[in-house]
Every structure is written in structure tokens, then in C-alpha cells.
């Protein structure tokens, strides 16, 4: 019963045609089926013979039923039956859809769209207007097609809707008749809900739809020592609700998440996402899971994540002797984690670095002192390294007072031997780092003993003297390494510990506040959010925001939420500020969107009817005796329906075959002649490989690049033919993967087979260029005389196939090292991903099933075929063993060592 109450018809009058079915019954009953026709030479002898039974043939009852059923289904289908929600419209006025499409509507947007589709279908031919509240414009009446198009283009916007503007637009439109308003609301009150309702109810009849669960919002998060304190808000306070809040990185990866509970009666919920310091810096946004709206996302400023680091060195050796330069080691250690800049002190501070490294700067000179002090006050971190200059006295921008003159091995305050590090103090930020035993210090600058020294030392040597000291100054830190940044005084810069320590020091820096950086300039949009909270490149009409107004700017079409500023120092403009609240919309007569979708039955019924008619045709054929011979055709038709399943099974079987034995493979070009030569060619090569080498290949396999898994095949033979089609992008990326993971493709341009010319304009090479467009090919060179390909099994000078003399190209090898003893073979690392030549090798290798060659190599005859086979053997050995043969040249030395 429930099913039938949900059934409705778009064109019910067509159902009257069902009354004609009995007539059809009668007609079919009196029309006998066609007799089968038989071509019969002795017809003369049949003429005049009398049939004993002359009763007219009847259409069998089941065939009648089949035909009636098909006719009935077609009639039903044409009556446009629909199952599900039936949005009936009253009267004949235009349909006006008022759609809330601010960010608050982004959640469950598909529900809204399906309701719009149903309403448009119900509207049939009457004119329709669509009024989105977030992008209100003049109200125009559209016909069915235009309305459907504009409904499809409707999207939630990242800013809130303006219902008053929408109401004004509707009032201005003066719609004729009594319009049917449907307001697809977001269920939230913005202070103008009642204005709109009164405007609409006054102008026509009104239905209001509201979602069962209106959107949630996420308020700006607070950074605390251990992560983020997160607050979310909701519109109503009924019942408890648990949602998941996640910290998401810049590439969309979830860094951490935590459940957030709204207690019954509460409109706010709070939780805490715990993140280690380093991971916290990688967080790009916080979001409520499953909300998919801009209001449920809080973007974070990106200024803090990547720090600018300035390096200053007093030594001038930087360019001449890089390995003795302090800067070199710092730069190498810092580059992966920070944006490294080099320059003078004032220059770098002017460029707003967050961390300043001074390597062996003894005295910070006059004007720079003030700049550095200001820098420290603003939260900057100053990290200094000792050196010969500092040994001669320094300024007061050091954590502890220092003794002049260093201490080193063999000096007055001598060590007997280099000192090791002791474990880090508990209060040190380095606490927890593993100390490698090989790190030793042979020279350092000593601190004057003082009371603070114990607290200020972050690292010590085994004799208790400080290695790293630090002091808080203003909002920032001064850190001093009592050794040089280069390995001159200790082996610390050569160890991993050095990098780890510098990383910890970077994390110490809170980063320069991004807004302060660009206080004087305009902030241009970098990326903006759409209504669903996804980041998009900004539209060209989005204006930059003056930095001083940034805190007060209102979210609007002109200023959508997103990241503003410059790359690396972007400020986030978010949908919701700390004071945001959500209120429920409570108006009389609101109804839910409902989940039910209207199912249009017409196509299904039509398909079923067509199927029955096909069956009818088959049955008629069978009755007339045609079927036995035509059975194959019908079976083929049925087989078409199930073609997908065997394909998957065939794949499985092929992969199994390929995985169990190492096989040679060729690319199936789809051209029967080319593929046959490839197969016969590889079969011929197989015979030779079996006879001469320890590799016993099974039958070669043809590979469909698009559908088959390539990873089983070490070598793919690919003949070029102008008839081959271009590769689809998936195939290209598959081939790129194949080559990157160590596969080798032998491209054969078959120059002289395809045409009279060799060279760049031969049809094969043109095809090669066309097909390999988009492939990630390495730089190539003609096979050098000492390439391992010339020595992998046989010693070869050239590589003929069916033709001789063409150039063969492989990946360019690194140049031979000068001055070193000449090695007989070079191979580079791995195998060349492509080998390109045009000698039509498959034709030279090709043998028939009896092992007889199928083509005549030109001009060298059988000797040339032999060399072609030798090239094949070398090629397979190269593809299978890589540069193993080049390593073989060291075999005597290795044997020598074993003795």
C-alpha cells in the first residue's frame, strides 16, 4: 500500500491506452505466426499435396502474454510514473525558489539540490525564478531548461546570505499571478528571517523547508603549550552531540583529531587537540569533520610554520674554501627546515628573519646592537657560534660572560684528550636527543664561572664545562655555542646531533607574527575558501585588504575567507570570529527536506519493455525454426552482457602467468600483423636464450598498456607503426611509473620496414615522437662503445636487426671519470629505461612454429641474423641483470681480496 501511495504519474491520461490491450490480444490471436520458408528444388512434386490438418496456426499463449506485457509496460512507461516525494504545486502562478546559499547551507547541499530538482520537475511548464540569498540579483522568470541549468550552477557561497536583499529583490520584481514561494532555508536565524517570511507570505503562498540539523561553526582556536584549544558552536541546544575535530596539514593530511561533545542544553562545545610542537607548526587548518562548510573550518596563519633564518659570518673564506666555512655547515643543516637567507645583521633583520645565526662574530658593531636588541625584544632568537674572533673578546649579547682565549688540546689549560658530551640537563631543550659517542670537542671558549651558569648551560662536556649556553632576553633568546659552526673545533657539525639541535632551536622560536611583518602593506588573497570549506585559487575580482583593517574586515563576496598576504607569511581570514553565535530559525510551518528522493521509473520500464520485445523476437525466430543456426548470434548477444566478469578473470590468469615466470613481453598495438611479428620475434629470441644462456623464458606475452599490470615484465618490446593510436593520459603515467621502477622499453621504429628512409622523418620515428609525447624520458645518447649493452653477454660493436646500420640510443651515462684507469664497460646506475633503435629486431628474430626464420636480414644475411640474436641476448641480460656486468670488471680484485 505504501508503495502505491508513493506512486504518481506525470502523464496519467496515457494510462487510458491500457484499455486497448484486449484489442491487441484479439489481433495477435487471429494473426498466425509467419511460416518458415524453405527453398526446395523438387517443389513440383509437392504441388497438389493436401495437408491433412488445415487448422490455422495459433500464436502460443505465452508469446501472447509476453507481447501484451511488453505493450503494457511501454504504456506505463510513457505515463511517466514516479516513486517517492511528490511536490505538488497549487494554482498556476510562477514558482519562485528562494534558496539560502551562504556557508550555512553547504552542509547537506545535495539534499537541497535534489529538492530543487523535484520542485522544478513539479513546476513542469510554469515559469520559475531562483533567488539565492547569498548572491541576490534581479529576479527573472526562466523557462524549464534555463531554470534547470541555473539550478545546477547554484553553489553555496563562503559568505553569509542577505535575506533582506533577497526580499527587496522579490518585492521589486512584481511577479504576475500568485507566485508559489518555496524557501529552502538553512535553518539559521540571521535577524532577517521574519522579514523575508512576511515579504514572501504577503506576495503569494509560501512553503519553508529547513534542515533537520543546521550547520555547526568552529570558533578561532587558541594555541596553548601542548596544542589547540578548540571551541565549536551550534544553533540549538537540544540533546547531546558528538563531532570530530581535526587538525589538518597543508596537503590535506590529518595530523591529529579529537572528539568534541556538545552537552544537552549547551550551545558551545570545547575540546583540546594535543600536538607536539613540530607537528603543530605543520597544521594548516582545523575543521569539524563531516560538516563540509566554510564555517566549520579555521585556517591558521602560515607565518609561524616556516621560519626565516638569517646567517651572518665574519669570515671571508666562504667562497674560496667552502668546506672550512662556518656558513656552509649551518646552511646545509638548516635548509630542509627553514627559509635560509644570508647577509649582514641589519640587512637580515630588515628582511624580518625569525632566527639570526652569527658564526664567529666577535663584536656586534654600533648600530647593529640596537637592531639586535629590538629584534630580541620582538621575540627573535639569536644563535651565536664561537670562533677565533670571539676568543679575543666579545660584546654583551652573549648568555654568559666569557673568558678571553680559548682552551684547546695542548694549550695552557690543556686537555689530555678531546672531550665528549655529557647527557643534556633536564631543563635543556635538547633533552632527549641521543648523543653519538664519536662526537668530540677539541677546542672551546670557556665561560666565567658564575651562579647562573648552571641554569644557563643547555649542553655540557664530560668535564662539566658548558658547550651551549642560553639566556632569555626581551621576548626572545640568546643562545651561544662555545664551539665553531664548522668542524674546526669539534666533530659536532659532522654529526646528526648538530642538525637535531638546530631543529630544536628553530622550534624554540615562536616565529615572527605574520601580521606584524606586513603591517604597512596590503594583504593580497593567496587562496580562498568556497562554501564547502575547500581552498580555491582566488578569483581576480577579490580585492586585497589593507593590513591595518585586517582584524575588522567583514566576510563578504569582496572578502571571502581564505589566506591573505604573501606566500610563507599569510594571515588567515576566517568565517567566524571569536564572538560568533548561531541561532535557530523558528518560523511557523517549516517542513523538513526529507531524505526521500523521487525515482523516475520511466527509463527502467522502457528498458524492461525493450528486453521483453527482444525476447519476443528470439521466440518468434525459434517458432519459425530459424533459431538453431542463429543460436550463436543470440548467445553472442547474451555474452555481451557478461563480458565484464570474464575480463577480470582473464586479467587474473594473465597476471599469474606473468608473475610465476619471467617472460619477455611486447606491447600489443592492436594491429594484427605488427603484433604477430612481435610475438614471433620474441619466440625466436626465446629459443636462442634457452639454447645459449641459463635464462629459460616461457612463451612471450602481449601486454595491453592500458589494462594490464606492467610490473611483471623486465623488458617491453614496442614496435612503432603509423597506425598506432596516441596514448591516453592514464597509460602515459603508467609507463612513466614502469620506467621509473626499473622497467626497460625497447622502442623499435622499424625504419626501413616502414619506408625507404632512415632518420628523423621516417614514419617510425614520427610515430615514436607522437606516442612518447608526455613520457618522462631521460636524456639519451647513441650507445657508447664501452656501454655495458655491448658486453652484457656477447661483445658487440653494432646492433643490427632485419636492417643494419641504424643508430641505437640509450639513457646518457655519466661521463667517464678522467684520469682513472679505463674500465672496459660502463653502466650507470640501474638500467636505461628506454632503448630506441630502428633495425626491426623482431623481424630478424621471428621464427615460425617449426623454428624456421621468417625474414631475410639485409644486407648481411644469416651472419647478420646471428648478430641480431646476440644483440637480443645482450639486451635481455642487460634488462635482467642491470649493471652487474660492469661490476664484473672488479671480479679479479675481489678474488684477490678473498685470498
Amino acid at each position: 500500500m505504501g508503495l502505491f501511495s508513493a506512486l504518481s504519474f506525470g502523464a496519467p491520461w496515457i494510462l487510458a491506452a491500457l484499455a486497448a490491450l484486449p484489442v491487441l490480444w484479439w489481433l495477435l490471436k487471429v494473426t498466425p505466426p509467419q511460416p518458415r520458408r524453405i527453398f526446395f528444388p523438387p517443389i513440383r512434386l509437392l504441388l497438389g499435396l493436401k495437408d491433412e490438418e488445415q487448422t490455422p496456426a495459433h500464436t502460443p499463449w505465452w508469446l501472447l502474454l509476453l507481447r501484451l506485457l511488453a505493450a503494457g509496460l511501454l504504456i506505463l512507461a510513457l505515463a511517466e510514473p514516479m516513486l517517492g516525494r511528490n511536490v505538488k504545486l497549487l494554482g498556476d502562478g510562477p514558482l519562485v525558489l528562494v534558496v539560502d546559499n551562504g556557508w550555512t547551507a553547504a552542509k547537506n547541499w545535495s539534499q537541497r539540490q535534489s529538492l530543487i530538482t523535484d520542485l522544478l520537475r513539479a513546476a513542469d511548464d510554469r515559469p520559475v525564478a531562483i533567488v539565492p540569498t547569498a548572491t541576490p540579483g534581479p529576479v527573472t522568470l526562466l523557462d524549464a531548461g534555463a531554470a534547470e541549468k541555473s539550478a545546477r550552477e547554484l553553489k553555496p557561497m563562503p559568505w553569509p546570505g542577505d535575506r533582506a536583499a533577497a526580499a527587496a529583490q522579490i518585492a521589486r520584481a512584481h511577479l504576475a499571478g500568485r507566485p508559489q514561494f518555496s524557501w529552502l532555508s538553512d535553518g539559521l536565524e540571521d535577524g532577517q528571517g521574519d522579514t523575508l517570511r512576511r515579504a514572501l507570505a504577503g506576495a503569494g503562498s509560501l512553503r519553508i523547508f529547513a534542515p533537520d540539523r543546521p550547520a555547526l561553526g568552529l570558533l578561532p582556536a587558541r594555541h596553548d603549550g601542548t596544542g589547540f584549544a578548540v571551541t565549536a558552536i551550534r544553533a540549538n541546544n537540544q540533546g547531546g552531540l558528538r563531532v570530530q575535530v581535526a587538525a589538518v596539514g597543508s596537503r590535506g593530511e590529518t595530523l591529529s583529531d579529537a572528539p568534541l561533545d556538545f552537552r544537552a542544553g549547551d550551545k558551545r562545545g570545547q575540546t583540546h587537540i594535543t600536538l607536539p610542537l613540530e607537528v603543530r607548526n605543520q597544521t594548516a587548518r582545523l575543521e569539524i569533520r563531516g560538516e563540509d562548510s566554510a564555517g566549520a573550518v579555521q585556517l591558521l596563519d602560515t607565518g609561524g610554520a616556516e621560519r626565516r633564518v638569517g646567517l651572518v659570518s665574519a669570515a671571508a673564506t666562504e667562497n674560496e674554501q667552502p668546506l672550512l666555512s662556518d656558513i656552509y655547515y649551518l646552511e646545509r643543516a638548516l635548509t630542509p627546515f627553514a627559509d635560509v637567507e644570508k647577509g649582514t645583521i641589519s640587512d637580515l633583520i630588515g628582511r624580518r628573519v625569525s632566527v639570526l645565526f652569527l658564526a664567529d662574530v666577535g663584536q656586534i658593531s654600533g648600530s647593529d646592537v640596537d637592531a639586535v636588541k629590538k629584534f630580541l625584544k620582538g621575540g627573535g632568537v639569536l644563535i651565536r657560534f664561537a670562533g677565533p674572533r670571539m676568543s679575543n673578546g666579545t660584546d654583551d649579547l652573549v648568555p654568559v660572560s666569557l673568558r678571553t682565549g680559548g682552551r684547546y688540546l695542548g694549550s695552557a689549560m690543556a686537555w689530555n684528550q678531546p672531550q665528549h658530551l655529557t647527557s643534556f640537563p633536564a631543563l635543556s631543550p635538547f633533552n632527549g636527543l641521543a648523543i653519538p659517542a664519536e662526537v668530540t670537542v677539541s677546542r672551546q671558549i670557556l665561560a666565567e664561572p658564575s651562579a647562573e651558569l648552571t641554569q644557563r648551560a643547555w649542553a655540557r662536556l664530560t668535564d662539566g664545562t658548558p658547550l651551549v649556553t642560553a639566556r632569555q632576553s626581551g621576548g626572545g633568546w640568546i643562545v651561544l655555542f662555545h664551539i665553531t659552526a664548522s668542524p674546526a673545533w669539534s666533530s659536532l657539525p659532522l654529526s646528526g646531533l648538530y642538525v637535531d639541535m638546530l631543529k630544536r632551536l628553530l622550534a624554540l622560536s615562536a616565529g615572527t607574527p605574520a601580521a606584524a611583518l606586513a603591517r604597512l602593506s596590503n594583504l593580497a588573497p593567496i587562496t580562498v575558501m568556497d562554501g564547502f570549506g575547500h581552498l580555491q585559487p582566488p578569483a581576480p575580482d577579490i580585492a586585497p585588504i589593507a593590513a591595518r583593517d585586517f582584524e575588522r574586515v567583514q566576510i563578504s563576496a569582496k572578502h571571502p575567507p581564505g589566506l591573505y598576504g604573501a606566500k610563507g607569511v599569510a594571515s588567515a581570514l576566517n568565517e567566524l570570529g571569536a564572538a560568533a553565535r548561531l541561532e535557530p530559525l523558528s518560523l511557523s510551518g517549516m517542513q523538513s527536506y526529507g531524505d526521500a528522493r523521487t525515482i523516475v521509473l520511466e527509463p527502467y520500464l522502457l528498458a524492461l519493455g525493450a528486453l521483453l520485445l527482444c525476447l519476443d523476437a528470439l521466440a518468434s525466430l525459434w517458432l519459425r525454426g530459424y533459431l538453431p543456426t542463429r543460436l550463436a548470434g543470440a548467445a553472442a548477444m547474451l555474452a555481451l552482457l557478461f563480458v565484464a566478469a570474464p575480463r577480470a578473470q582473464a586479467d587474473e590468469a594473465m597476471n599469474l602467468k606473468a608473475a610465476l615466470d619471467t617472460r619477455l613481453a611486447y606491447v600489443v598495438t592492436g594491429l594484427a600483423d605488427v603484433d604477430q611479428v612481435s610475438r614471433e620475434g620474441l619466440s625466436g629470441l626465446n629459443l636462442v636464450l634457452k639454447a645459449r644462456t641459463s635464462y629459460e623464458p616461457q612463451d612471450p606475452i602481449g601486454v595491453d598498456i592500458l589494462h594490464d599490470d606492467l610490473s611483471f615484465y623486465p623488458l617491453l618490446y614496442w614496435p612503432m607503426d603509423p597506425r598506432e593510436k596516441n596514448l591516453p593520459p592514464e597509460a602515459i603515467s603508467k609507463l612513466n611509473d614502469y620506467m621509473r621502477l626499473g622497467g626497460t622499453i625497447l622502442f623499435d621504429t622499424r625504419d626501413l620496414t616502414l619506408g625507404a628512409v632512415r632518420g628523423a622523418n621516417s614514419p617510425g620515428q614520427q610515430t615514436l615522437r607522437r606516442i612518447t609525447q608526455g613520457l618522462d624520458l631521460p636524456p639519451l645518447e647513441p650507445v657508447p662503445a664501452d656501454h655495458v649493452l655491448t658486453k652484457a653477454f656477447y661483445i658487440l660493436k653494432d646492433f643490427p636487426g632485419r636492417w643494419a646500420g641504424g643508430q641505437v640510443w640509450v639513457e646518457r651515462l655519466p661521463p667517464a671519470e678522467k684520469g682513472k684507469e679505463r674500465v672496459p664497460a660502463r653502466g650507470g646506475d640501474g638500467v636505461s629505461p628506454v632503448i630506441i633503435g630502428g633495425n626491426d629486431w623482431a623481424a630478424a628474430w621471428a621464427v615460425d612454429s617449426g623454428g624456421h626464420p621468417l625474414s631475410e636480414p639485409m644486407p648481411g644475411g644469416e651472419m647478420q641474423r646471428e648478430v641480431a640474436f646476440r644483440f637480443g641476448v645482450n639486451l635481455v641480460m642487460y634488462a635482467l641483470t642491470g649493471n652487474y656486468k660492469t661490476d664484473q670488471v672488479h671480479a679479479p680484485a675481489l678474488l684477490e681480496r678473498l685470498k
Binding site: P35, R36, I38, F39, F40, R44, L45, L47, E52, E53
Partner: protein, 293 residues
């Protein structure tokens, strides 16, 4: 020089397109000749018969000097009697002959039997010819392949079909008295007996080979069916074809007997062959009837 090119052309055409039919016919002929008989020794010249001592009645010009020089006596070369028998072949090619219920049509079988028989006869020294063809009878392999080509020649079949709309049977051919006709057909044409009589009047001896499709003899059809003539507009509709089967079979047998009776009356012979039977049987029977004279 001018004569060379057409000859070359013809030879090429024959060599290139030796029809598979010829091969099949040769194979068939080889399979039956073994048990048959040997008429003469192979390899000896066609004409030579024997040398005889010169008699006074013989003309001097008939002395074979070469032979005579080998001995004391004079010898005369005696030739074989030169009037070798000519066997004319014919097979009907009207559309009904193309009927087949199994793998082989009546026409195909007739072609095969014809060529195989011709091959046997040529091997036995008889001259064979095809009625209606442009070449004269001869006893050579070359004639065999010409017959084969003529049988498969589409244009010639068309011409035949057009002619047999009026009169069925072999085309008028200058056939010598006493020569033989081997006539392959299904003998279903209404005027077939008149034609047989007409040829008998010319003094030829006929051998009829009646090719029958099994479906024509057994009539395996059931249910509602409309039978249509291969040529013309005759048709017969039956609600239950099986109900007329026994009547039809009786008629078909009677028709066969009638043809056989007519043949006997004319002094001719008739062999019936069903296309689902082995061709060797028919060939042996035919050869026995025609071959040794």
C-alpha cells in the same frame, strides 16, 4: 613473338588458379583406379601400335627405315586405330542444383564426380570434352584443367542459367554418333525426358547420373512451412509438413523410377547418387558403366 604472350597468359592463369576441385578430383580418381583395370601400359606413345614385316601390298612410303636398318628385314610401322572414343560431359547448373541440406550442394558433388571420372578416362586414353565449352575434346591433363575452369567459371554458369530457362539439359553440341554423354543432373526439370529423347535420336549413348540431396529423398520437414521453388513462383504452404511426407516420398521414388525407365527405354544407363554418400562408390559404378568398352 606475338604468339608467346597469350600462351604465357593462359598458362599462368591455369598454373596460378589450379582449383582445389582439381586436386580433390585427382585424389578421388587415384583412390578408385587402383582396384579397377589397366587398359594399356603407360608411357608408350599414343599412336604406335606395332612393327610388321613389309608386305607387297604395302606402300614403299610406309617403310620405317630406322627400324629396318637394325635388321635384315623391312618393317612397316602400324598405328593404332585412331578413332578413340570421345566422352562428352555435362552437368546441369540450374539454381536447384545449388540446394544443400548438409555440407555439400548437388552442384559441388556433380563437379567433383565429373572431373574425377574425366581424370580416370583420360588416364585410360579416352578423349573427354565438356558440352557447351569452347574447346575440343582431347585426352590430356590440360583438357582436364580446362574442364575444371569451365565448371567453375561464373560467367559461363550465368550463361547456362539464362539458356536453361527455356530448355533444360545440355546445349546443342556437334556430337558424333556413337560417342557418349555423361549427364549429371537432379533430373527434376519438367521437360527432362524430351531432352533425353532428343539426344538419343542423335545416336549418342547416355549415362545419367542422378544427384539427390538427402533432404529431397527423406523429407525431414515438420511444422508450419512454406516450400518455395528455386526459380519461378511456385510455392506450397503446409500447416504440418510432416503430414505430407509419406505422399511426397512416394512421388519422389516414382519420379526416380520414371527417369530410370526412360533411360532404359533409350538404351541408356542411370546411376543415382546421394550427396551424403561417399563419392568413391558412385565413381566406381560410373567407371564400370562407361570406362572399359
Amino acid at each position: 613473338m606475338t604468339g608467346f604472350s597469350p600462351l604465357q597468359h593462359e598458362a599462368d592463369a591455369l598454373g596460378a588458379g589450379l582449383p582445389p576441385l582439381m586436386v580433390a578430383a585427382d585424389r578421388l580418381a587415384a583412390s578408385v583406379s587402383l582396384g579397377a583395370h589397366g587398359r594399356r601400359k603407360a608411357g608408350i606413345g599414343e599412336n604406335f601400335w606395332q612393327f610388321r614385316r613389309y608386305g607387297s601390298a604395302d606402300s614403299v612410303g610406309r617403310i620405317d627405315w630406322r627400324q629396318s636398318a637394325k635388321s635384315q628385314h623391312l618393317f612397316v610401322r602400324e598405328r593404332e586405330w585412331e578413332a578413340a572414343q570421345t566422352v562428352w560431359f555435362w552437368r546441369d547448373s540450374d539454381p536447384g542444383m545449388q540446394f544443400r541440406s548438409g555440407d555439400i550442394s548437388k552442384l559441388d558433388r556433380a563437379n567433383l564426380l565429373l572431373l574425377a571420372l574425366a581424370a580416370l578416362l583420360v588416364r585410360g586414353g579416352e578423349r573427354v570434352g565438356l558440352m557447351g565449352a569452347a574447346f575440343l575434346p582431347a585426352a590430356s591433363r590440360f583438357t582436364l584443367s580446362r574442364i575444371g575452369h569451365a565448371l567453375l567459371d561464373k560467367a559461363m554458369q550465368e550463361k547456362e542459367r539464362a539458356r536453361t530457362v527455356q530448355t533444360s539439359g545440355p546445349p546443342p553440341t556437334p556430337v558424333a554418333r556413337g560417342s557418349r554423354i555423361v549427364w549429371f543432373s537432379d533430373f527434376l526439370q519438367p521437360d527432362i525426358e524430351d531432352r533425353m529423347t532428343a539426344f538419343a535420336r542423335l545416336g549418342v549413348v547416355g549415362h545419367l547420373v542422378r544427384i539427390v540431396d538427402p533432404a529431397e529423398e527423406d523429407f525431414p520437414y515438420t511444422g508450419r512451412a512454406r516450400f518455395e521453388a528455386p526459380r519461378g513462383h511456385d510455392s506450397a504452404l503446409f500447416g504440418r509438413a510432416e503430414s505430407v511426407a509419406s505422399d511426397y516420398r512416394a512421388r519422389f521414388t516414382a519420379h526416380g523410377e520414371k527417369i530410370a525407365r526412360t533411360a532404359t527405354k533409350l538404351g541408356w544407363s542411370m546411376t543415382a547418387h546421394r550427396t551424403d554418400h561417399a563419392p568413391q562408390t558412385a565413381l566406381i559404378a560410373l567407371h564400370a558403366a562407361i570406362g572399359p568398352s
